[in-house]
């Protein structure tokens, strides 16, 4: 069984700042980790995923994430945020064949 923990419920930054959203997972089998974004009143949209190979994966809109087996982490980063990046971000881990377990989410607020 795999679980995922997002330690920060809220993160506030200014436009143009860099940001890192944290995700830690428990290992119980083959690795599959992903991040999703949810804008207010909308469904979740896929950002990026990792399951093998280069531990740094690139996603849409300048997001990237780095897998670390030693730290059991899959943190999401962006070098320079825009106000439109304000949203809820969910980390997800595969918890069974074709099943995803989501973290509780991190609310990112980007101030102008």
């Amino acid at each position: 069984t795999q679980t995922v923990s997002q330690s920060d419920a809220h993160v506030t930054v200014f436009e143009g700042d860099s940001v890192e959203l944290r995700c830690n997972y428990s290992y119980g089998g083959s690795i599959y980790l992903s991040w999703y974004i949810q804008h207010h009143g909308r469904g979740l949209q896929f950002l990026l995923k990792y399951y093998s190979g280069n531990p740094v994966v690139q996603g849409v809109n300048g997001f990237e994430a780095e897998f670390s087996k030693s730290d059991s982490s899959f943190h999401l980063r962006k070098a320079s945020v825009h106000w439109s990046d304000s949203a809820v971000y969910f980390c997800a881990v595969r918890s069974g064949y074709n099943k995803l377990t989501f973290g509780k989410g991190t609310v990112l607020l980007v101030s102008p």
């Binding site: 469904g43 979740l44 969910f90 074709n98 989501f102 509780k104 989410g105």
Partner: protein, 113 residues
């Protein structure tokens, strides 16, 4: 882009009533899912399906039933709705591969009074 459509977008129900939430996907995905989203809990899996005629229990199935009559349609049924089932419900679909992404609908906001 994969399309997942949920109906209704908003629903008010009375305690003890029956509620059916519908989901349709037009991308021929084998797998479909129902999640609920609550503050402090994130998304939790209720039921899922691997194809027409199949339904599987997720992590919080109590009080819910699911139906997958066709490849395109997946319904979530609350036979006897309770106020604790007030939530936002999301349907998702995905291809039959363990490393594939999910595509989500816009959600159904359900209030049980």
């Amino acid at each position: 882009e994969a399309a997942v459509t949920q109906s209704p977008r908003n629903k008010v129900a009375v305690t003890g009533g029956k509620v059916t939430l519908s989901c349709n996907q037009t991308n021929n995905h084998n797998n479909m899912y129902w999640y609920r989203q609550d503050t402090g809990h994130g998304l939790r899996l209720i039921h899922y399906s691997y194809g027409a005629g199949s339904t599987e229990k997720g992590d919080i199935p109590d009080g819910y039933k699911a139906s997958r009559p066709s490849q395109e349609n997946f319904s979530l049924i609350l036979e006897l709705a309770t106020p604790s089932q007030t939530s936002v419900y999301f349907c998702a679909s995905g291809q039959d591969s363990p490393n594939e992404r999910l595509f989500f609908g816009h959600g159904t906001k359900l209030s049980v009074l």
